[in-house]
């Protein structure tokens, strides 16, 4: 049972690493902020949760496994919140800067 | 391994020193101080490491690393954070009078 679980866990971990790598490539290659945010956060959340689930058989006993599950649940709640806050901040900031530019253009 | 740590520590410390000497922005000076502090912490921890040692939490599964230096480093980190806060308070207070963060302008402190 344990070797099978470890094999499945290894597959999960490598899938997670692949997703994280894809997310980083998206951050590097996509053209503007919002697409980068889109590529980065979703793939990275999925990859992180996959890695945490795959690490369960390797954790060595249930205290470690519970901590891993806690990290996974925390990620599932907090990561979308953080990316929402960042996206909103980028949007508001660009709106404010555009308004400032327009005011400057009217003045001079 | 020890040689690698020593090279990193000396490079990191002199990079912090270079920042403190040449940058005119006060925040950059604080960044340089932080880098120098990190170099010292890295030196202590890499000096505490013993090959094939385990983390100093009982029960040990073998030989342990040096716990005394870990305690010193812990104290140093907390005091470093207080230092940093005090430095920021000084920058904010000076900025209230001079309206800039240029260290070259803060000449009035000269006695």
């Amino acid at each position: 049972m344990i070797p099978v679980l470890r094999f499945l866990g290894g597959i999960c971990i490598f899938a997670g690493v692949f997703f994280s790598f894809a997310a980083v490539v998206a951050i590097l290659r996509f053209p503007d902020v919002y697409t980068r945010l889109h590529g980065g956060t979703k793939a990275l959340s999925g990859g992180a949760v996959l890695i945490l689930l795959g690490a369960l058989p390797y954790a060595g006993g249930y205290p470690g496994a519970i901590k891993l599950l806690l990290i996974a649940v925390f990620f599932l709640i907090s990561n979308p919140m953080a990316s929402h806050a960042i996206a909103r901040a980028c949007h508001r900031r660009s709106l404010a800067e555009r308004a400032l530019e327009r005011k400057r253009g009217e003045r001079g | 391994m020890a040689i690698m740590s020593f090279i990193t520590v000396s490079l990191l410390f002199s990079l912090g020193l270079f920042t403190v000497l040449t940058r005119r922005n006060a925040f950059k000076t604080v960044i340089g101080l932080t880098l120098m502090e990190s170099a010292v912490l890295l030196l202590l921890i890499s000096w505490a490491y013993i090959p094939d040692g385990w983390a100093p939490i009982l029960p040990l599964k073998g030989g342990g690393v040096d716990p005394l230096l870990h305690a010193f480093t812990l104290t140093a980190i907390v005091i470093g954070a207080c230092d940093l806060a005090l430095a920021f308070a000084f920058i904010m207070k000076l900025n209230k009078f001079e309206r800039t963060v240029d260290v070259d302008v803060f000449r009035r402190l000269k006695g």
Binding site: H84 | F18, L58, L60, T75, L84, A85
Partner: protein, 331 residues
């Protein structure tokens, strides 16, 4: 122990430090600096120092960033004039500094190289590793050193924190608080309401299990301070001032100091000395349970109260407006 991994981490630390120094945009150098701190924490973890790694990760990513951002947003930065200094020729500026720093690095490495030898434990660390369980009843040797063998040092350290808090309050006295309830968006507010109890519970577990696992008073107190800062940022200052008033923070901080002193004096009253643990009035308990390690639980609580209240009142002193006019869109 994987040497190539450690070498790569060292290289990465140097790269991030270089970027933090030489990037023009300050916000980006703050991000690079926090990456440097995280990498330091990872290297500490790789070098088998989980306590130090926990402290570095907490202090670096919670407190230093918030203090940096507050100080950065509270300062007015008129652009620096880059005129040539007449009495200071070009070669006396960064080339000579680079020369001095290179020489310094070479000599520092030479001095450290002469230290390199086969490391063995000294007598005092070997004694700590062998006898901590009998002499203190704690499992975490670092916490035992901080709170039992060298508890007087910890008292001095809390005094340093107290001095920093009073110095900052003195320096930034006379400002005006802005009471505002704007905060962040609705999603973040509701999500924080879901997450805050868990973060607080985890901080309490770091604090109270400090003698069994990595953690302790400093780390738990720093997480408490970060939660207070986060509440202030997410819900606005008026909410934070209503829930956790500065008066409460003062009381908590003084209460922590008082608890430390009382625990110390109880050992003196027993007749064995200031801050005596198992030789004093405290019981060892069963090793591995919550109530073990004598007075360590009480001392962790005292240090945690002191650090948490102290660091959050530092933040509260720094968010005061020092000058009334001025726009906030400078960057």
């Amino acid at each position: 122990m994987s040497e190539p991994l450690l070498a790569f981490f060292y290289f990465f630390i140097l790269v991030t430090a270089f970027v933090a120094v030489f990037l023009e945009d300050l916000l980006s150098s703050f991000i690079a600096l926090s990456v440097t701190g995280v990498l330091m924490a990872t290297v500490f973890a790789l070098l088998r120092a989980p306590d130090v790694a926990l402290t570095q990760a907490i202090i670096n990513s919670g407190l230093v960033t918030s203090l940096l951002l507050v100080a950065y947003s509270q300062t007015r930065r008129t652009p620096l004039p880059s005129e040539e200094c007449p009495e200071c020729p070009f070669w006396l500026q960064w080339p000579s500094a680079a020369l001095v720093c290179t020489l310094f690095a070479v000599f520092l490495f030479r001095g450290l190289y002469s230290l390199a030898c086969v490391r063995e434990l000294g007598s005092a660390p070997a004694h700590f590793l062998a006898n901590t369980l009998e002499e203190t009843g704690a499992l975490n040797v670092v916490a035992a050193i901080l709170l039992d063998y060298r508890a007087f040092d910890t008292l001095g350290e809390t005094t340093v924190i107290f001095t920093a808090v009073s110095g900052i309050s003195l320096l930034l006295a006379g400002g005006r608080y802005v009471h505002s309830g704007r905060g962040l968006s609705f999603v973040v507010k509701r999500g924080m309401a879901l997450l805050t109890p868990f973060i607080l519970l985890y901080a309490a577990s770091i604090l109270f299990l400090g003698h069994l696992t990595p953690g302790g008073g400093f780390q738990g107190g720093s997480v408490f301070a970060t939660v207070a800062i986060l509440i202030c940022v997410v819900y606005g200052t008026s909410f934070e001032a209503a829930r956790i008033s500065p008066k409460t923070k003062e009381t908590l901080e003084s209460g922590g100091a008082l608890l430390f002193i009382v625990v110390g004096l109880s050992g003196a009253a027993w007749g064995t000395g200031f801050l005596a643990n198992l030789s004093g009035p405290f019981l060892p308990g069963t090793p591995g349970s919550l109530f073990s390690g004598g007075n360590m639980l009480l001392l962790n609580l005292a240090v945690g109260l002191k650090v948490g209240a102290g660091l959050s009142s530092i933040f509260y002193a720094m968010i005061k407006i020092l000058e009334l006019e001025g726009d906030s869109w400078q960057s």
